[in-house]
């Protein structure tokens, strides 16, 4: 069952966050700030931008290398969510049929370019978000948000959301397993049974979520996510935030790719 396999891999992202590298040691706030600015910068590009987005891949690639995160893992996660990006952009080529001229006088409809742009923005933002969690852990991110001034009810909701996704998957797996053990051949796997299973899944998830909340309360949870690594915002964190910000702003407001392009042209001509 691939479902089981996925399930046993659920904790992988969390486990990555327990490594100890330069990136892992950074203050979680620094990483949250850098990632947020990165995402905002990438999203702020206009609809038809493709070339200018390319240099932004340096950020995730650098993080992957420095934090020793398996590249394949990040790639896989991006592939898993890419259907959503395709879904958002798939109609662009149909509706947006203006043609634009590329180099060497090749023609292409503007819709394809905007689809490509959407895909790139998706890949960039998703990989940044995954890397943030993979180097900080989800509770760590929640804790950082809290210390950055986001109200505690909001950050703890975020934590619950994350935790309950696991609960939902676990319950789903149990139900599917129980069904498969008692349905022989195709009997019991039809759509009618399936619809009822979804109902049971929701009820069970809801009840379990409540019991987990109860367990948290009984261990003194008062709305704040506690955190172990008592981070201090050090010089290296400040340098990290400053450098990444400077890098993103430079890319955004000076057309660096064009400048490099011109430079190369200048050399070759």
């Amino acid at each position: 069952m691939t479902f089981d396999k996925e399930y046993f891999n659920i904790g992988y992202l969390d486990r990555l966050s327990y490594r100890d590298t330069v990136i892992h040691r950074l203050d979680s706030r620094a990483k949250v700030i850098a990632t947020t600015i990165f995402i905002i910068t990438v999203i702020s590009y206009p609809k038809y931008e493709v070339i200018s987005l390319v240099p932004f891949f340096i950020f995730p690639v650098l993080l992957i290398t420095l934090s020793d995160t398996p590249f394949k893992f990040v790639l896989k996660k991006i592939l898993v969510v890419s259907p959503f990006a395709v879904f958002i952009g798939i109609f662009n080529p149909l509706f947006d049929t203006r043609t634009v001229t590329l180099a060497h006088n090749a023609l292409i409809s503007a819709g394809w370019i905007s689809l490509l742009s959407i895909m790139m923005k998706f890949a960039l933002t998703i990989s940044a978000a995954i890397l943030l969690v993979a180097t900080t852990s989800f509770p760590g991110v929640c804790n950082a948000l809290q210390r950055l001034g986001i109200p505690a009810p909001f950050t703890s909701q975020l934590f619950f959301l994350y935790r309950y996704i696991f609960v939902l998957m676990e319950e789903a797996m149990r139900i599917v397993r129980a069904r498969d053990l008692r349905s022989f051949g195709n009997r019991g796997t039809g759509i009618k049974v399936f619809a009822r299973l979804i109902g049971i899944l929701l009820v069970r998830t809801f009840e379990r979520a409540e019991r987990i909340y109860e367990a948290m309360l009984s261990r003194g949870f008062g709305g704040n996510m506690p955190s172990m690594r008592q981070f201090r915002f050090t010089i290296s964190d400040a340098v990290f935030v400053f450098l990444t910000m400077a890098f993103f702003f430079a890319l955004r407001f000076y057309n660096i790719t064009e400048m490099i392009g011109r430079l190369i042209q200048g050399i070759t001509v």
Binding site: F8, I10, G11, D14, R15, S17, Y18, S137, F138, P139, R163, F166, E170, R208, R211, I212, E214, A215, M216, L217, S218, R219, G220, F221, G222, N224, P226, S227, M228, Q230
Partner: protein, 244 residues
């Protein structure tokens, strides 16, 4: 001393679907007592225990823990005194690693990082799970989960320890370790279990619950040797007494 007192006075509780789970339960547990709660499936043991840390609030009657009268306002305070280990360990482990899970309570109590680390190592050692420290809880076996769930509660050093069927997933050796652990725990203990041998080993007093009412309350060795009464409650004589 009155601060580890647990008093139930004609407690009545009815679930939203109309099931009357607790129908007028009264007892008084004093400081340092160890009390076993036994009864058939569905007798109301779990429901009863959920009143001890204010997860449920009685519909009629009252619950007093220490010197606090249980209501919506005091339950936060009561939770700091009463550690509850629930029936299903899956519901209690919610952090990414065993370490984080056990550290969750102590951190909420405001302990320093160093102290927390010490405390976590200590309790994990007591339940024999120190080597699992960095594992994610959902990758543990059922018995290991139970042990970690117990560790996460005793890490808070509660005044009153409440457990709902703590030994049901444990292998014989872990069960024995748990029993030794519980015997060392000097504060008030309340344990619901089908494992009557464990109750006999750990508890001096025993309360039998049937259909939401107390049907017997007295010294564990007397109650647990009353074959007729036990069988009326879908229970059997403890193995250690059967041989006699």
């Amino acid at each position: 001393m009155s601060h580890h007192l647990v008093v139930f006075d004609s407690v009545f509780f009815c679930y939203p679907d109309g099931t009357e789970a607790i129908k007028g339960v009264s007892f008084r547990i004093t400081h340092g007592e160890s009390v076993g709660i036994v009864g058939a499936n569905g007798a109301g043991k779990s429901t009863l225990l959920m009143h001890m840390n204010g997860y449920l609030i009685p519909m009629k009657g009252s619950v007093i823990i220490g010197d606090l009268y249980l209501d919506k306002k005091t339950r936060q305070e009561i939770r700091k005194k009463v550690g509850v280990v629930f029936q299903n360990p899956d519901d209690q482990l919610f952090m990414p690693t065993v370490f984080d899970d056990v550290a969750f309570g102590p951190l909420n109590l405001g302990m320093s990082e160093e102290k927390v680390r010490e405390r976590v190592d200590e309790v994990l050692k007591t339940v024999g799970c120190l080597s699992l420290k960095d594992k994610p809880p959902h990758h543990l076996s059922a018995g290991q989960k139970s042990a970690v769930a117990i560790a996460s509660v005793i890490a808070m050093r509660p005044d009153i320890l409440v457990m709902d069927e703590p030994a049901s997933n444990l292998d014989p050796r872990s069960r024995r370790q748990l029993i030794n652990l519980l015997r060392e725990f000097e504060h008030t203990k309340v344990i619901a279990s089908h494992d009557l041998d464990m109750i006999l080993d750990v508890c001096k007093r025993c309360i039998v619950i049937k259909e939401g009412r107390v049907v017997a309350d007295g010294p564990a060795d007397r109650i647990l040797s009353d074959r007729v009464q036990l069988e009326e409650n879908n229970l059997e004589l403890p193995l250690s007494l059967q041989r006699l």
